[in-house]
């Protein structure tokens, strides 16, 4: 079972008994955690056979789906929260999935690695693609396909009319209040439908 510090932030935003959808749920450890501490009715979405198997072993509901094609079949506003933890950067259809998340849930929780983190910038300045705790892969085997910063994501939300209700930024687990686009390695957002 993997456990990540963004889980604590996400857990704070989930009320007891909520209906929760976790997109790219991995081995289901977040959902298992939320079931234990928040008694959520949770469902994971994965498209990798090994991860489906891991979720099954963890006793977590998991539905195989290709998220790139959207969340067709899930009813509008069915979930209280839809979560995408450290997976958005690995999807091609960024705007499509954000719209789908806010279609099927009241709020979306999204976390992603900040490519603008100072160590990542330093790495690029030194002529190499960044490899760090939040970006653990080499350029030739990374599952990530979208490379964006906190500022980039803020701009996308504004452009798409997505309301940023809360944003927390971290440097390897430590909360960053100043200059998050430079000093934070990971950001966690609570998003709603704007307007």
């Amino acid at each position: 079972m993997s456990y990540r510090y963004d889980y604590e932030v996400i857990t704070q935003w989930i009320a007891p008994g909520e209906k929760v959808l976790d997109l790219g749920c991995g081995d289901g450890s977040l959902l298992k955690h939320l079931a234990e501490v928040r008694q959520v009715q949770g469902y994971g979405v994965e498209n990798d056979p090994d991860k489906l198997l891991a979720c099954t072993r963890n006793g977590v509901n998991v539905i195989q789906m290709d998220m790139e094609k959207g969340l067709a079949g899930i009813e509008d506003g069915f979930f209280d929260h839809v979560i995408m933890s450290l997976s958005l950067q690995a999807m091609h259809n960024t705007q499509g999935i954000l719209a789908e998340m806010l279609r099927v849930a009241r709020e979306a929780v999204v976390s992603f690695p900040n490519f603008g983190y100072w160590r990542h910038r330093q790495s690029i300045l030194n002529g190499r693609m960044p490899v760090s705790e939040s970006l653990p892969h080499q350029w030739f085997n990374t599952p990530n396909v979208r490379f964006f910063t906190i500022s980039d994501f803020d701009a996308l939300c504004e452009m798409n009319g997505i309301a940023v209700r809360e944003r927390l930024a971290f440097d390897e687990g430590k909360l960053i209040l100043d200059e998050p686009n430079f000093l934070a390695s990971v950001a966690v957002y609570r998003l709603g439908r704007g307007g």
């Binding site: 209906k19 009715q41 469902y43 056979p49 489906l52 198997l53 979720c55 099954t56 072993r57 006793g59 509901n61 998991v62 539905i63 195989q64 079949g73 899930i74 009813e75 069915f78």
Partner: protein, 375 residues
């Protein structure tokens, strides 16, 4: 971990039911017998029973082999046994031949007590719901109030699903594989071709061929050939047979030329040699009639609202007879009702038949799911 093993030598058992069984069609079966097999031991809490429901041509003989016939291996032997995904050391597994069948349970070849002759065409139509009622009575007889799981593929999956609606409190887990909440028009069409092949065979004699000492073997063979085409994928058929010619070149004959012709004829003849045509007719109609949403104006989420079981739903990528989209209908209807449900679409090139094979990913998933079930 132990090496997966066979359950070994098994023997069928019989249960007689004197209480009439009212059927969906409005008819009543005055009395009946069910033939069944069990593997493993029922625990003292009677909480480890798993019912395996068979599909169109299956039977109660799920696993193991008969003492006098080492080749008589059960139809889902790769799933059931010590160390196998449905582990007979943990579970008490039951296979039962459905009513209307031709493997020992009361069916068209049985004697109608009212006439002293085989039921033949007079055997009443039976539905998935009727089968579940009969299975429930067998469960009562065996002292099983609640199943740890009910499992089935294809038509068997429909029975597992129907159990969760007819007897929600008696099913802890339902494993619904390569199945559907109802057949499509195309699917009914294939069944109708199969039925017409049988019904128009001159040896059918209106279903009372037993009295004439014949069987409608040509019709049954054709029915099976059509069925077999739909159980395989285009790719699998292409890989296995392609355009291979028996003589290496065209000989301009209606005898077997292409290997696929040979395969289909062989499968058809083999099937017609042991299966009863009336049973085939009844089972295809049971498939066609199954539609729990019908009474809810076609609203499947409303139809599945009574279900309380946890579900595992599995489909196969190249299954076009019971396509993944049909399984997803079940999944989304369960999701609507906030039921515990997991869904996997297994990559397989073997079409509908995949559910009977032992694909590693498929069996690993089933093993993991059954392993989680508390008994």
């Amino acid at each position: 971990m132990i090496q997966p093993q066979s359950v070994g030598v098994v023997a069928p058992q019989r249960a007689h039911f004197a209480e009439p069984l009212p059927l969906r069609s409005g008819n009543t079966l005055p009395e009946y017998e069910l033939v069944y097999e069990t593997y493993g031991e029922l625990n003292t809490d009677r909480s480890n029973a798993v019912l395996v429901c068979h599909a169109l041509s299956g039977s109660h003989h799920v696993a193991g082999h008969y003492a006098d016939a080492p080749n008589s291996v059960g139809w889902w032997d790769n799933l059931v046994g010590p160390g196998k995904p449905l582990d007979a050391r943990k579970f008490f597994v039951i296979g039962v031949n459905n009513l209307g069948g031709c493997h020992g349970s009361t069916g068209p070849i049985s004697i109608n007590p009212a006439t002293g002759k085989p039921w033949g065409a007079d055997f009443p139509f039976v539905t998935v719901e009727d089968w579940v009622e009969a299975q429930a009575r067998l469960a009562d007889r065996l002292g099983i109030q609640r199943f740890a799981a009910i499992v089935g593929g294809s038509l068997g999956g429909m029975q597992a699903l129907s159990w969760t609606l007819q007897y929600p409190e008696r099913v802890a887990h339902a494993v619904v594989i390569a199945s559907a909440p109802k057949l499509t028009a195309q699917n009914i069409a294939f069944n109708e071709v199969a039925r017409q092949a049988i019904l128009t065979d001159p040896d059918f004699h209106g279903g009372d061929y037993y009295a004439h000492g014949v069987v409608p073997a040509r019709g049954l063979k054709l029915a099976r050939m059509v069925g077999h085409i739909t159980y395989l994928s285009d790719d699998a058929m292409g890989d296995k047979f392609g355009r291979s010619l028996r003589h290496g070149k065209a000989i301009y004959s209606y005898d077997v030329e292409f290997e696929i012709e040979s395969y289909l004829r062989y499968q058809g003849d083999k099937f017609a040699g042991f299966f009863d045509a009336n049973t085939y007719l009844l089972a295809t109609k049971a498939l066609d009639y199954f539609d729990p949403a019908f009474e809810h104006g076609g609203n499947l989420p409303a139809a599945l609202a009574p279900a309380t079981a946890d579900f595992l739903v599995v489909s196969f990528s190249t299954d076009w007879r019971f396509s993944p989209a049909r399984s997803r209908e079940i999944v989304y209807a369960l999701l609507h009702n906030q039921r515990n449900v997991s869904y996997a679409q297994i990559e397989s090139d073997a079409g509908h038949d995949s559910f009977l094979l032992d694909d590693a990913q498929y069996h690993a998933l089933l093993a993991a799911y059954f392993d989680r079930i508390k008994v």
